[in-house]
Subunit: 292 residues, 2 copies
């Protein structure tokens, strides 16, 4: 690594514990560098498109491949923890208290019981948190600030955004390096995407200039339906180069797994759903390799 040098340099940003430090010839720290970790917001203001299913199964697969993964549940419906088999009674400190600055993030993060796979859980109280948040200082970057403290402990942080474009989703997008958009292979799938893109653009302008759309994951694909194939074609035109090759099929086993508190890879590793999420994790890792 080499640097173009300048006469006068200053630290541009003070980072959390994930920092490296550069010094000038007087041994004065002139800048700090962040060790790389990928933070992915899984967002789509439409409900029922597979955000949580994608978040938990992508997270689980990345952890199985030896990556250190944190799943952040930003959805007041807060079922990511339940889907992972964590009993609601065990949830004491959650993402809501972290956003309000009432609890250090380290105290709210809990293990999912799978090696290298942690969760920052949510409860329905998060809806109230979103209201309180509106009046606070730095209301859009509270999650980013909290994640900075633990980010160096993870390779991937996946943020399961709520089905809305509210302050919670804004916090998710403001924290992320990239957005992954799950899209159901159904009529009107693209509906609302213009609005999501607009929100992403606003966030790029005001809060997080390096945020990019990592890709669109087509979910609930039924190969027998002509419509599904047409939707995929349409999305390819709308997001050229951005659609993941892996398409998640409509698969009964995928919808059963959460009620057993299991990942699809645990519930039925041979199912088409399990194979699809394994392929998606593989594709994401390959994309990351290429980007570096």
């Amino acid at each position: 690594m080499y640097c173009r040098t300048f006469d006068k340099l200053t630290v541009t940003k003070k980072l959390g514990s994930a920092e490296g430090i550069c010094y000038n010839e007087h041994n004065t720290a002139v800048m700090t560098l962040e060790v790389q970790h990928m933070i992915i917001a899984i967002a789509n203001q439409k409900g029922g498109v597979g955000k949580t299913t994608t978040a938990i199964n992508l997270g689980g697969n990345l952890a199985q491949r030896g990556r250190r993964v944190l799943l952040v549940d930003l959805d007041p419906q807060g079922n990511a923890a339940t889907c992972l088999g964590i009993q609601k009674q065990r949830l004491e400190q959650t993402v809501g208290e972290v956003l309000l600055g009432e609890t250090p993030i380290q105290e709210a993060i809990m293990p999912t019981g799978r090696p290298g796979f942690d969760i920052l859980p949510a409860t329905p109280d998060l809806a109230g948190t979103a209201v309180s948040l509106a009046g606070l200082m730095a209301r859009e970057t509270r999650l980013r600030q909290a994640l900075a403290v633990v980010a160096n402990q993870y390779d991937f942080i996946l943020i399961d955004c709520p089905p809305s474009l509210d302050l919670l989703t804004v916090n998710g997008l403001a924290s992320a390096n990239q957005v992954v958009i799950p899209l159901q292979c159904e009529f009107l799938a693209l509906e609302g995407l213009a609005q999501l893109k607009e929100t992403i653009e606003l966030i790029r302008t005001h809060l997080n200039s390096t945020l990019f759309i990592g890709g669109v994951v087509m979910t609930m694909y039924d190969g027998r339906a002509n419509l599904a194939r047409q939707v995929v074609e349409e999305v390819r035109r709308y997001f050229p180069q951005r659609i993941f090759n892996t398409i998640i099929p409509r698969n009964i086993r995928l919808s059963e797994a959460p009620s057993h508190g299991e990942l699809i890879a645990e519930y039925d590793p041979q199912s088409r759903g399990a194979q699809a999420y394994a392929a998606l994790a593989e594709e994401l890792l390959q994309r990351e390799e290429t980007r570096r």
Copy 2:
């Protein structure tokens, strides 16, 4: 300059045009560096302590010494421009439109008619702007974002904050490297300072971790009054190492100059007020030299 290197690096912040860029061995930009400029918020929620007088005369003196200076007027009373002899009718685009994202900052900045000394002016409309601002994305960092575009064109940016701790002052403090606090040498001078320090602390936590209190400037000092000397002693105890040696005297010429649209250095260069502000500028520059 040398860098401790790391395996994996990422850009931690995308900067405006004031940037330098570092590349890794694959010729990929891995980080950006800001060329140094000092942004000083002149703040105290008490009115009538000499904020505007300090802002314009410190700015004028720094410009006279060959520094490129921008004065940002954040006070809805908006008299910095008038004090500099700029007619109100000439003000078309102001800081209010910039904060709302309606005008690029370059179009609102105007020359003060003095070499190297520009102003981003305000009008009373700014009070309404503050209300509109409250509902916008990144409401606290709008000024910082705008200043990033022009910051490399200046050595010093001075922000004249309003006499309150509202969203405008928060924007000023979130944009600044340091705060300079003018303090009147009078009874109850320290009143309210705890609250200002608290706000600064909140901003350091949530918005601007490298913000520091550059110093306290004692203003309107009357050497004949025992009280004034006592106040200075008290402030020295409260802000050890932080008080400027230069003390601005109570000086009739200082209060006359603005009504002539002149800096004290133009109106009466031999006055004690003019000498004091020249000394303050000198002291500030020396402090900056030491800090580097």
